[in-house]
Symmetry: C2
Subunit: 146 residues, 2 copies
Amino acid sequence: MTRDRAESAANERVLDMLRGAGLKPTRQRLALGALLFGGEHRHVSCESLFDEARAAGADLSLATVYNTLHQFREAGLVREVHLDAQRRWFDTNVGEHHHFYVEESGALVDIPADSIEIKALPSPPRGFAVEGVDVVVRVRAKPARK
Amino acid sequence: MTRDRAESAANERVLDMLRGAGLKPTRQRLALGALLFGGEHRHVSCESLFDEARAAGADLSLATVYNTLHQFREAGLVREVHLDAQRRWFDTNVGEHHHFYVEESGALVDIPADSIEIKALPSPPRGFAVEGVDVVVRVRAKPARK
DNA sequence: TAATAATTTAGAACTATTCTAATCCGGTTG
DNA sequence: CAACCGGATTAGAATAGTTCTAAATTATTA
């Protein structure tokens, strides 16, 4: 079946990612990897991924989701986005890009890197090197027009 | 004395800010306002401002610092900066500008708005209006050269 | 001065996250 | 196949930052 083929290809990919990161392909990491990397890019919080994994029938603990997302981040498989003083968000798209953020709903929409041009970034304080540039465009629902 | 003159001018300014925001000029709000708006622009967290106020001899509670910073934010006297999933940061500079952020130390350095040029911001999702654009340039200490 | 409404407060409650120490694998070795 | 080893996982406790609550205080108005 096509469905199975696609799935097993995705599982292969997750296996490769884990191997590449030097992480043992455990049941839990495979399940989370499948959710994160099985299709389109994703934005998740620890809690949201945990709920999703549970709903999908995976048997794992919240602590494991925290551990795994942190390991994935160290390995460069996901990146963290700072939006909210309350919660950690992770993005499976580790390439250069930016975000629209809807504060009311927490929704995140990607902005391709090349649609924002940063001109003449001033040099960082002496002795420091630029790690990354994060652009967050905060948006809110327009009041309904009269 | 020049010192006193400067101080009382600053206090006048804080009073005006509070009046303008419709907030009663209580002892606590005046003390916090003096720390925040008495000189250069500041970056503070609730806890850091609380410690500072206490060190300066103000007698107030942590809850009041939280309340006050929130009220000041609603009134547009300070703005919140999202840097860190752990802590809320407030900036007394409410004009358009951006930040260098040193993750290791938590230090923040302003970047003037005009030194970053954002070209061709894509239009936001349908029905949404742009509230603000936050640019955070994350930097880290360069490894010492050999 | 009394009435009132807003403000402040201590401490409890809550939320997200990290820590801890015990248990559980998965892969190797004898 | 059994014993072993080190990493992975786990439940639950601990922590940090923040918010909530209800009572006491304070500023303003009448």
